[in-house]
Amino acid sequence: MLITGSFIMIFPFVWTILSSLKDMSQIFVIPPQWIPDPVMWSNYIDSLLAMPFGLAYFNSFYITVLIVFSTLITASMAAYAFAKINFKGANILFILFLATMMIPKQVTMIPLYLVMDQLNWLDTHYSLIVPGALFNAFAVFLLRQFIMGIPKELEEAAIMDGAGYVRIYWNIILPLIRPALAAIAIFTFLQSWNNFLDPLIYLNTPEKFTVPILLNSFKGLYTANWPLMMAGTVISVIPVLIVYIFSQKQIIEGVAITGIKG
């Protein structure tokens, strides 16, 4: 049963790859022709040339990297303050962070569009990068849980040595929460790389498109050319699958620990 199950789970991927290597005459054959013959590697070149996939890769990549790194810093800073600094209003502000996790993104979708318009950020990458970099309540929450678990003695020893908050954060807290940071980095990467609705709303210029949004317009242009569409899809899935293969342990265990998808 499990072998059949696993087969069903990966079959769509396998079928996509097989279809991407066929030509139009093979793809509509009934009964299905399983193995492409001839193997049409040119589909990949054609779909890469048909639309600016290289540019979309670059856009997705640099946007995602900026979001991941800024999230790790800003969220861990906030998490540290909420976990270890006894400042006025900390509890109320933390509850505010928790409460925003309940807001579905569709509710703030229209006002955010207007905010971006006000900031003159429509059709720019700022509209994707800045909110991602500065706001991630889930990351703050999860990192705070980890930092709470760090024993007080470690900090106290550092204070004796004259360390301030910044040194404690940088030299003690950050190194100790590395596994949590890795989990947040992977979740944030996946979330940002796969983001569809935001670029759909904010971006108009094809040169500014990220991979999912470019793939969607690719679909619009090549509806009938299935091999090309499948090649485009494979191209879009590869980076995520590479990240997944190398970090599947952290991803799966991260999900198991938190129970919340990033």
Partner: protein
């Protein structure tokens, strides 16, 4: 020394995220509430019109169509998706090499909505799709999945179940690991069989997890959009037009931003209710344990 100024340093450390929270979450939320009471159309001035948008929304057949489609989708995805992932995780729990299976089952979870949408457009293609060709092998005449008004929601549900199976399975596996072996040992001594153990130990002790997964799946089902947008554009004949689709169209196609905001607020209230139910029961779900 700065030790004495916890307030200053506290605000310093939370400042970036707090600014983000204000600009990209709280202000837009207040903004959305305000807009929902106006007749704003995306340009120029607007007037406050009280509850008119909400009343109009409830009289709008497209709103109800979207709501019914969403609920139909949910009725398929929640029980079937949870049942399959529960059975699979129980099967997987005792098996050697479950990590390998887990890797396969989780793979779709990391894939983007557009990619899985396009993959399933091809698999579910009524004329040449592989699913219908496989069904034909066993003598079943498959439907025109994505272009038949009766089958389009089940089609999207099939994609979503496949897509989310690994996620739910991992949560269930975590729940199963949390059940102490001593219960099963005690039951074995009392002569309980496999089915009795499942019925009287596994199921009851897994209810917190099942509850959590159910509420989370309901919440995400209310937000279904990407799959329908990519595969069917809400069609045919609005048969896959969901509540988020309705919000999206009213805002970015019709530019009735005020109207759209009222639908978004209605969605928010529904999701809020389910979230609060989950929070109320969250002590039954081991959220903080590591």
């Amino acid at each position: 020394m700065n030790r004495n100024r916890p307030n200053v340093w506290g605000y310093f450390f939370i400042a970036p995220q707090l600014i983000g929270l204000l600009i990209f979450s709280l202000i837009p939320l207040v903004y959305a509430f305000t807009l929902s009471f106006t007749d704003w159309n995306g340009f120029g001035d607007f007037q406050f019109i009280g509850l008119a948008n909400y009343i109009e929304q409830f009289q709008n057949p497209e709103f109800w169509k979207a709501m019914l489609n969403t609920i139909y989708y949910m009725v398929l995805v929640v029980p079937i998706g949870i049942f399959i992932s529960l059975i699979l995780s129980i099967g997987l729990n005792k098996i050697k090499g479950k990590e390998i299976y887990r890797v396969f089952f989780f793979m779709p979870v990391v894939t983007s909505s557009v990619s899985v949408g396009i993959i399933f457009m091809w698999i579910l293609n009524g004329d040449f799709g592989i699913l219908n060709q496989l069904l034909a092998l066993v003598g079943i005449d498959g439907p025109m999945w994505l272009t038949d008004t009766k089958w389009v929601i089940p089609s999207i549900a099939i994609l979503s179940i496949w897509w989310g199976l690994g996620y739910n399975m991992v949560i269930f596996l975590a729940g199963l690991q949390g059940i102490s072996k001593s219960y099963y040992e005690a039951a074995s001594i009392d002569g309980a069989n496999v089915f009795q153990k499942f019925r009287h130990i596994t199921l009851p002790l897994l209810t917190p997890t099942t509850f959590f997964v159910t509420i989370m799946t309901i919440i995400s089902s209310f937000q279904v959009f990407d799959q329908a947008f990519v595969m069917t554009q809400g069609g045919p004949a609005k048969a896959s037009y969901t509540i988020v689709f309705h919000i999206y169209e009213q805002a970015f196609v019709d530019f009735t931003m005020g109207q759209s905001s009222s639908a978004a607020i209605i969605l928010f209230i529904i999701i809020l209710i389910f979230t609060l139910i989950q929070f109320k029961f969250q002590d039954r779900w081991v959220f903080y344990e590591k």
